[in-house]
Amino acid sequence: MNRTRRPLIALLAAALVATACGDDDDATPEADGGGTDGATVTLLTHDSFDVSDEVLDAFTEETGITVELLPSGDAGSMLNQAILTKGSPQGDVLFGVDSTFLSRALDEDLFLAYESPALEGVDESLVLDPEHRVTPIDTGDVCLNYDKAGLADAGLEPPEDLADLADPAYDGTLVVENPATSSPGLAYLLATVAEFGEDGWQDHWRALRANDVEVAAGWEEAYYGSFSGAAGSPGDRPIVVSYASSPPAEVIFAEEPLDEAPTGVVEGSCYRQIEFAGILSGTEEEAAAQQLVDFLLSPTFQEDIPLNMFVYPVTDVDLPAEFVEHGAQPEDPYLLDADVVAANRDAWIEEWTEIVLR
């Protein structure tokens, strides 16, 4: 009996060790009232946010400000958490509210206005809030991706635009995400609204339904579960709604070096998402938070964006070679007015659900 009991005692010992050294990272310096040196700012983000260690370290070295990251689910979930905790925010700066959710964030008065001097280098069309309560940091394009080999096997050419997919030749080839539960899914629905008009998109989706469009709950399910072009995927659909940066990612994270991306982007199908940062009202570190926003627009951070988050910087910095070679930068992506989206989003999703799912 003694013999069999020993492993569990080891487990118990491990438990005690763990509780003993559980809080080894509480040594964050206290903020001192006036200056920002030694301050700590918390950056509330969505789960897709990431940044290189040395980039954050550079900021701390330069300013004396420590940054803590707090990932809080997907973009929608993060924003809703910020709204729920309004006035007693979990962080000082929020990063990752995008153009489709922007109106909700502004209506709720979540942010303090701040016009960063670094905005000089940013294209004016990306500055959607004239009061500067939010600052654009990156752009991402939601586009149709296709499996080069998969389409060739089926004897099909890649589609050139959205309308092509209604062609019976593309029967059973497309998988999209549900706009009710997925941000790229919503962007793609908005692309069809932008293309076919507020009264025309419904017919296009009826045609897609007739063409057996598959609907997945989220990007992971669509890309890794149904799309045939993802590495190791059990999927059988050669066309998926993903990002302009997905082919470079396939190259960068390939097991063995690739000369050519296995997937391509339909450049005429892209919808632009702009991601913003804002200083949360209720912060006790407003000055330090402003410095962090400036930093998010600095060349150091902007250059770090593509390989960590697989979206594009808003300032003019060099892109990694993989992005230049395998990525797409669509000339004229779709983008609907934020107010129009806010006013119609729920109704469109409801209508889409009726047409495609019921």
Binding site: T4, R5, P7, L8, I9, L11, L12, A14, A15, L16, A18, T19, C21, G22, D23, D25, S48, F49, D50, V51, S52, D53, L56, L69, L70, P71, G73, D74, G76, N80, Q81, L84, T85, Q90, T181, E214, V215, A216, A217, W219, E220, E221, Y223, Y224, G225, A230, A231, G232, S233, P234, D236, S246, A249, E250, I252, F253, E255, E256, D346, L357
Partner: protein, 556 residues
């Protein structure tokens, strides 16, 4: 139960034992959930109870509630029917590899659904074995995004609950009574129905109610396998809360789900689950090698269980070694080295370390809090005991998103500003593990013979010594078993953890989820390798648990 005439001192002790569990579950469960639901019902600053009826009678609520109910009932019945032969096997038959078989069964139950859901998708998809069988008989089968897939996955996830719980009860049934019935002329089926089945009823009701609870509140399985046309109440709560911020509707649905869960637990209590009776346990001595027709039944049961549980898990393991250059350990080697030097992608090996440490803290917490609750329950009598016992189960019936969002608005002020505190993850996981700890320890406490305590007291032992010499000795094994089971639950917990995991300290399930959210072969490969490690860890812990404790661990 011998609680009728306890001295006053005993009652004070009972109360004292409950202080910690009530405080703990209050802070980490009841208050956050109640705060969020109240916020939802008080939209606009005053109670809007009129809207409750409006939400409840809307067609969309009715259709979601109806689907939730029927798939849960169907899943429960299917699980009980599918797992009953395995329960017989565990309760009666000795065969090589038995302990590994019993331990492996529970692996799906404690693995995160993101992991196994993906593997299941591969099994049910057009390239999987199910479709292959279909094409042999000339039928085109693609079960993805169907209610059928959801029910099959539910059977897979909950198989062990029925097999192990009922199996343990079966082992406790004295086979001589059934043998006597057979000598008196009853055929096999009649003897089983009249003699053994009634004795299994409490375990069956207990296991079925747990399966119902889990399938009624199913989230990951429905989301991954059911596709967008199918939603349970839990999925709707998640969507309404995280995407639409419609807390009013979400709150009403939370209350509806809670009511259903409470009703299921009440049914379970009324199903005649009397603990503390029929304690005559036969034990392992009833196990025998299969003879004659039994051999055939045993073989087919082992085969079908191995197929059901083994194929999805094997798919996972296979994908973790299926590298571009043929089978190999490339993805595993990458785990140690590819921290990309970025803030969120810590080297996956570190995630393993985080999981082990957090799991240890969570399991210890669950054992202490759950142990005290079990002591209190043991001393409590009658209806109060049943009610207290059921309310400990409630955390299993509330959406993780409700708890997670509740934390944000309830624990935001000193002295309880815990929103970003490192204690929150083990605490949230402990809340989920506590019901299982209680259900392991309480029967063990009840089974301590009162006569032993009395004898010790008569011999002059003071109460503390009685506890040390009698109770503590008999409880050591169940306690270690409960600790291990809580550890396994914590290793696989995802729903609550993902809300509160800190950026720099992801657990393994969170790391898997993050790896799966970017394109690229290396990301998928590492996710599969991490899943395989998680699976192996879990199986190892359960094997230890079974060696040390008895098969009743987690005994529902």
């Amino acid at each position: 139960m011998s609680t009728a005439a306890r001295p006053r001192r005993g009652r004070a002790l009972t109360g004292a034992a409950f202080v910690v569990p009530i405080a703990f579950l209050g802070v980490f469960f009841a208050v956050p959930v109640a705060t969020l639901i109240a916020t939802g019902l008080r939209a606009g600053g005053r109670w809007e109870l009129g809207t409750v009826g409006e939400v409840l009678t809307s067609p969309s609520t009715r259709s979601v509630a109806w689907f939730t109910l029927w798939q849960a009932v169907l899943s429960t019945v299917a699980t009980v029917v599918a797992a009953l032969p395995a329960a017989w096997l565990i309760g009666r038959i000795r065969f090589p590899g038995r302990s590994v078989f019993v331990a492996a069964l529970i692996v799906p139950f404690v693995l995160p659904t993101v992991v196994v859901g993906t593997a299941f998708l591969a099994v049910l998809g057009p390239d999987g074995p199910v479709a292959a069988v279909g094409s042999v008989i000339g039928v085109d089968v693609d079960l993805r995004r169907t209610a059928t897939a959801v029910v099959i996955a539910h059977v897979f996830f909950n198989y062990a609950v029925v097999a192990r719980t009922v199996g343990a009860a079966w082992m406790a049934v004295d086979p001589s009574a059934e043998a006597a019935a057979r000598t008196l002329g009853a055929d096999r089926w009649t003897a089983f129905r009249l003699v053994t089945l009634p004795q299994l009823r409490p375990a069956l009701a207990g296991a079925a109610s747990i399966v119902f609870l889990f399938t009624f509140t199913s989230f990951g399985v429905v989301k991954i396998l059911g596709g967008p046309r199918i939603a349970t109440i839990e999925v709707e709560i998640h969507r309404l809360t995280t995407q639409l911020l419609d807390l009013r509707t979400a709150s009403v649905l939370s209350l509806l789900q809670l009511a259903a869960v409470i009703a299921a637990l009440a049914l379970y209590r009324r199903a005649g689950v009397r603990r503390g009776t029929a304690r005559a346990r036969a034990g392992r001595s009833v196990l025998h090698r299969p003879a004659g027709g039994e051999r055939w039944v045993a073989a087919s049961t082992i085969t079908s269980a191995a197929l059901l549980v083994g194929v999805p898990l094997a798919t996972l393991v296979w994908r973790s070694v299926d590298t571009a250059g043929g089978p190999g350990f490339g993805y595993y080697r990458a785990l140690g080295s590819t921290g990309r030097g970025s803030a969120l992608f810590v080297p996956p090996v570190e995630a393993v370390r985080n999981s082990l440490l957090i799991g240890a803290a969570a399991a210890t917490t669950a054992l202490v809090v759950g142990g005290l609750a079990a002591v209190g329950l043991h001393r409590l009598g009658g209806r109060a005991r049943g009610l207290a016992d059921s309310s400990l189960m409630l955390p299993l019936g509330v959406s993780a998103v409700t708890v997670g969002f509740g934390f944000l608005i309830a624990l935001d002020e000193p002295p309880l500003d815990l929103r970003t505190s490192p204690v929150l993850i083990p605490a949230a996981q402990a809340v989920i593990a506590i019901p299982f700890v209680v259900r392991t320890l309480l029967p063990a406490l009840d089974a301590v013979p009162e006569r032993l305590r009395e004898a010790a007291a008569v011999l002059g032992a003071p109460p503390r010594r009685v506890w040390r010499e009698v109770d503590a000795r008999l409880l050591r094994r169940p306690a270690l078993g409960a600790l291990g089971f809580a550890y396994a639950i914590s290793l696989g917990e995802f729903g609550a953890t993902v809300f509160i995991a800190r950026a720099d300290a992801p657990t393994v399930p969170v790391a898997i989820f993050r790896a799966l959210s970017q394109p690229g072969a290396l990301n998928v490969g590492q996710a599969m390798a991490l899943s395989t490690i998680l699976l192996t860890l879990t199986a190892a812990v359960m094997l230890l648990v079974d060696r040390v404790g008895d098969a009743r661990v987690g005994g529902f």
